[in-house]
Amino acid sequence: MLEIENLHVSVAGKKILDGLTLKVADGEVAAIMGPNGSGKSTLSYVVAGRSDYEVTEGSIKLDGVDLAEKSPAERAALGLFLVFQYPLEIPGVTTMTFLKAAINAQRKARGEEELATPDFMRRVRDAAKKLNISQDMLKRPVNFGFSGGEKKRMEILQMALLEPKFAILDEMDSGLDIDALRVCAEGVNALRSKERGLLVITHYQRLLDYIAPDTVHVMHKGRIVRSGGPELALELEKSGYADYAEEAA
């Protein structure tokens, strides 16, 4: 369960989040929608623990654990995963090397044994197959020279292997054509479970056709201005964000 309470965040002195409160229960898929500049990406970075964001007030808890003093790596080990809007390239480091390093770093942080290589290989192969990721892609450096679609599929692969307790999908649909979007969404849907919460951040209703949310929240100027069920997303698609801007004001 993710609990965000009255969160105020500034970047370089500029206020981005202004008293945001949000709860996402285990097994729940929550969607956050909002116009550009409403602070959606900031929210995902802050929850993941990026250091250049200053939390001036409020708290973030994952399964009751306050994340304030936790490093990004510690948050990851607690089970938090972020699907990046723009996944980073790491030249020279093969995807396999990276995956193994990440999995074992998290296991080590949780006091678990390292994953044996054959076991690791099998898990990667199985997960890759479902996402239509070739063995060749796994041997290439992380995201290096990948298309937008390949990068996003690689994000979902990592999510599948790291088995997070809670995942945030930051505009997963950006840069994806309709076929790639379907593959990624199917990958995400396969990872839905009673224990795992998901926060889907998006501009468009389109993504929610593929990943059906339980709850929908509208974000504007750094706070949630309206919450509801899936019908809210459809309404937004018709009317746009302008009305909510006025409501918030």
Binding site: A48, S51, P72, R75, A76, P91, G92, A102, A105, L162
Partner: protein
């Protein structure tokens, strides 16, 4: 990933600024008086019981040196060196040169053990039994000015390979030394090489006879121990027709507040169809976090592909020294000869690196390849300087150069200075260069997946240098990987 994890663990156990090899060995030594003049040159020559031609060769070099000026073109800065304030000869005190390992001062052996260099053949052999995959490495250890022990001599002799201190080769194989010494790096080559020619103390000599593939890796380990002592070793390697040798060199020095001068000369000669692979892991003391102390590493290394189809390959991992000034080069004289240069140069703290290579294509169908990876962190400055040239007779000369720089933090600098010169129209030279920075975004991405900042940096850096690490012999690759992480320690905020 095991290696990366190991590196990271290793880094964590170290204090910041802890240079692992900074201890000194308390051992009595015999020194020449401070300063440099003809008498000192004669003293060194006499100590080594050298023939007259070599004494004259040194004196000639000394006289030339006095007329020369220090080169100023490199992007490095240091206060003037007082050449009269140095010792030019220091030797551990023993009545005679050691005849066997049993005669070597146990204190010295312990020093090398601390450095992780197993000199005792028994130990190496024991190691071989324990691990059938471990390869044997013959070691020549040079302590300040003299070579103290060379291992596996007998076994090498069976193959006809000569591997001994150069001072010994002067006595036992004077014709070879006389024929090749100074034939690649002439006495008058440059200020530091000329100084070395006058006062060189010891170093390794290798001769591989025609058609012989040297049965093991050869290695020299250099150690500066004495205070205010310059180290001027001289290495000469000759690979005769159709032979092959792989040679490794490692270096460390105690932690001292004053700067110490190291001006070595390495000459390689490859005859027809011969191949020499020369690898260096340089880890001289780099100075403290404020930039105090450290070694001035002013080194001239050059290989001569004298015979047709010969090949010389330089691989270097440069992590130490306050200042590094070295350009391992290849003269591609023989037709279809090939030169290679693979380099990882890391600078942190206040280190300055000006390093690169020269590939001089003289013969037809010669080819060369240059892969340089520079990593700058802290307040350091890291320059790649390379020269690729094709003589008018070097028809179809080919070169590929790839020169990448990686920056960590905001206070360091990376510079690339390529000189490319083709005097015939059939030459094809390619030059690629990139400069990148470990971005906060990359670090955050790795950290979000569970890696700590140190682990993430080690992973990214290891990815950056992978092409070059693969060129190193196995044993050195692992050591080099650890060294890279240790050198970059404290570079991530």
């Amino acid at each position: 990933m095991a290696a990366v994890q190991e590196t990271v663990d290793k880094v964590r156990t170290l204090d910041v600024d802890a240079y692992k090899y900074g201890f000194t060995t308390d051992i009595e030594s015999e020194k020449a008086p401070k300063g440099l003049n003809e008498d000192i040159v004669r003293f060194i020559s006499a100590k080594k019981n050298e023939p007259e031609w070599l004494t004259d060769w040194r004196l000639d070099a000394f006289r030339r040196w006095r007329t020369m000026a220090e080169p100023k073109w490199a992007r490095v800065h240091y206060p003037p060196i007082d050449y009269q304030d140095l010792y030019y000869y220091a030797a551990p005190k023993t009545a005679e040169g050691p005849k066997s390992l049993d005669e070597v001062d146990p204190e010295l052996l312990r020093t090398y053990e601390k450095l992780g260099i197993p000199l005792r053949e028994q130990e190496i052999l024991a190691g071989v039994q324990a691990d059938p995959n471990a390869r044997k490495v013959a070691v020549d250890a040079v302590f300040d000015s003299v070579s103290v022990a060379t291992t596996f001599k007998a076994e090498l002799a069976k193959a006809g390979v000569i591997f001994c201190p150069i001072s010994e080769a002067v006595q036992t194989h004077p014709e070879l030394v006389k024929k090749y010494l100074g034939s690649v790096v002439p006495v008058t080559d440059n200020y530091f090489a000329t100084l070395n020619s006058a006062v060189f103390s010891d170093g390794s000599f290798v001769y591989i006879p025609p058609g012989v593939r040297c049965p093991m890796e050869l290695s020299t380990y250099f150690r500066i121990n004495e205070r205010n002592t310059g180290q001027f070793e001289r290495t000469l390697i000759i690979a005769d027709k159709g032979s092959y040798v792989s040679y490794l060199e490692g270096c460390t020095a105690p932690q001292r507040d004053e700067n110490q001068l190291h001006a070595a000369v390495v000459e390689l000669i490859a005859m027809e169809d011969a191949e020499i692979k020369y690898s260096t892991v340089q880890n001289w003391y780099p100075g403290d976090s404020e930039g105090k102390g450290g070694i001035y590493n002013f080194v001239t290394k050059r290989g001569d592909c004298r015979g047709d189809r010969s090949k010389i390959s330089w691989t270097q991992v440069e992590t130490g020294s306050a200042i590094t000034w070295k350009y391992p080069s290849c003269i591609l004289r023989g037709e279809s000869s090939r030169g290679e240069f693979y380099s990882i140069a890391i600078s942190n703290g206040y280190q300055q690196v000006d390093s690169g290579t020269k590939m001089l294509h003289l013969g037809a169908n010669t080819s060369s390849r240059v892969i340089s990876k520079g990593i700058s962190a802290g307040h350091s400055q890291n320059t790649y300087r390379g020269q690729i040239s094709a003589h008018r007779k070097a028809k179809n000369a080919r070169n590929f150069t790839n020169c990448d720089s990686l920056l960590i933090g905001n206070s360091c600098g990376a510079h690339t200075v390529p000189y490319i010169e083709a005097k015939n129209s059939s030459a094809v030279f390619e030059h690629e260069a990139t400069t990148s920075k470990i971005s906060d975004d990359q670090l955050f991405y790795c950290m979000q997946r569970g890696l700590s900042a140190e682990e993430a940096t080690a992973l990214i850096v290891n990815g950056f240098v992978r092409d070059v690490l693969q060129q190193l012999p196995m044993e050195f690759a692992v050591e080099a990987q650890k060294l890279i992480a240790i050198s970059l320690e404290g570079s991530v905020g």
